[in-house]
Amino acid sequence: MLKDNKMKQKKANECYCLGIESTADDFSVGISTFEGEILANIISAYMPPEGGIHPREAARHHAEVASKVLEEAFEKAGIRPQDLSIVAFAQGPGLGPCLRTGATVARALASFLNVPLVGVNHCVAHIEIGKLKTGAEDPVTLYVSGGNTIVSAFDSGRYRVFGETLDIALGNCLDVFAREAGLHQQVGEPFGAVVEKLAAKGKRLISLPYTVKGMDMSFSGLLTAAVNMLKKGENKLEDICYSLQETAFSMVTEVTERALAHTEKREVLLTGGVAANKRLQSMIGAIAEEHDAEFCVVPSEFAIDNGAMIAWAGVLVYTHGVVTPVEKSFVRLRWRLEEVEVLWVK
């Protein structure tokens, strides 16, 4: 355990929330003060030896690293478990086995410490940490990751979903394409970054299906067309990556612009794992400028799945009178963003 002299001097009345994130391939623990100071954000990513995420294998990884990640988080934050006021966990949406592993750790910790347990919606947490870290107050949010593609904005007590994918997520589309192309990733490097590097060398735009339906998008046809093109072998991989990115990003940007034009909000927030892509940033930045809105990108550490966002959202939920009794803390695989009452935004 930690030596006493390494301990952060606990300020009188300072309250801490520990957040556990385990909706997909990352197991992460974050610690936040009730004022929104992030003291720790430790992330352990599961890397499948081949193929995509197998939920059971990812859950096994989470169970294996849980105690180590927890310990590291306490050490980084310089606090002891008994200093915690509440324990928050991502209750959904996500992969069942992964969610259950995180929930089990959270329940055990909260029961052992005898502190309240708070179930947090993963998508809400992404938006809230984005607002905390960029200073955005009332943005249109584009949340693009391996599991989600959602354009949302606050209205009458909830984050309303204005547009989303009708099938697979944008990040998933890029990941599957990269695997089909036999690309390799470095440790800690997402497939999206590999595609981005290749795309930067592409020059020729190949026509691929551009599917915007109202405010919603579809990426499965685009993925199939890109993979077929790959198999035909008539085009350079760089050009296919370039065309795939340009087409997919133009689609999400068009939908985000429509939400911006419709809601007339003054800020655009870009978050999720795909937010790190420079080309996407420049596209969303361009529409923000066009509509006189401020463009905010969430720093990478807080844009990917992370425990800090769960901890911070846990603080918001708890301080507005919501707790999750252990007997009601079952995970919610398909918990939609707009089902959550956002009590802390007026």
Binding site: K213, G214, S250, A286, R336
Partner: protein
Amino acid sequence: MGEVKQPMLIKKGAEASLYLADWHGKKVIMKKRLPKKYRLSELDEQIRTYRTIHEPQLMHEAKKAGVPTPTIFLVDVKYATSIMEFIKGKQIKQLLGNVSKNERQHLCIKIGKLIGELHKHGIIHGDLTTSNMIQNSEGKIFFVDFGLGEKTEELEIRGVDLHLMKRALQSIHFRFAEECFRAVMEGYSKVLDAETVKNVLDKIREIERRGRYIAERKSE
């Protein structure tokens, strides 16, 4: 196009800018699909040209199917611009929240019938929201903005079209989204045969399940 006088920007949408203008002494809407800086110019041109050409075709087909749409006067593909009839009226979006429950029901049934007529004639609107429907002083409902539409009788596409209508109601008129959509489907059923309606409803449910649309599976 030199004859367009005094264009006044009335709506800067994401896809196009709408101007109210004077054209040969007539009040018209000029719809300009301006280049999007964020898209590669090649892709941008493809998309704008495609939509500029297809929108008037679909609007014309819709009119033949008995669904009121503004009359197109002129299309300039090079500048991705079209000139069409100005419909004086109120958007359904503004009406729904400001009328009695009864009238709302009535409006939605009417909308459902019109969507039914479109689908029956193989037309998909592609962006069914209450901002794209205008009621004039005689109570006629006009459908506008067919830029994302297409011609097909495919069940899947019909399902998505109605699913979008449902989603639009949920995000903008969440207080009475459910009753509105039920009324839309009631109107829709009056136009299409029972089997098609059942298949479409099943399809909508399938689309919802496929995405992240259902609240909770009881077995979880």
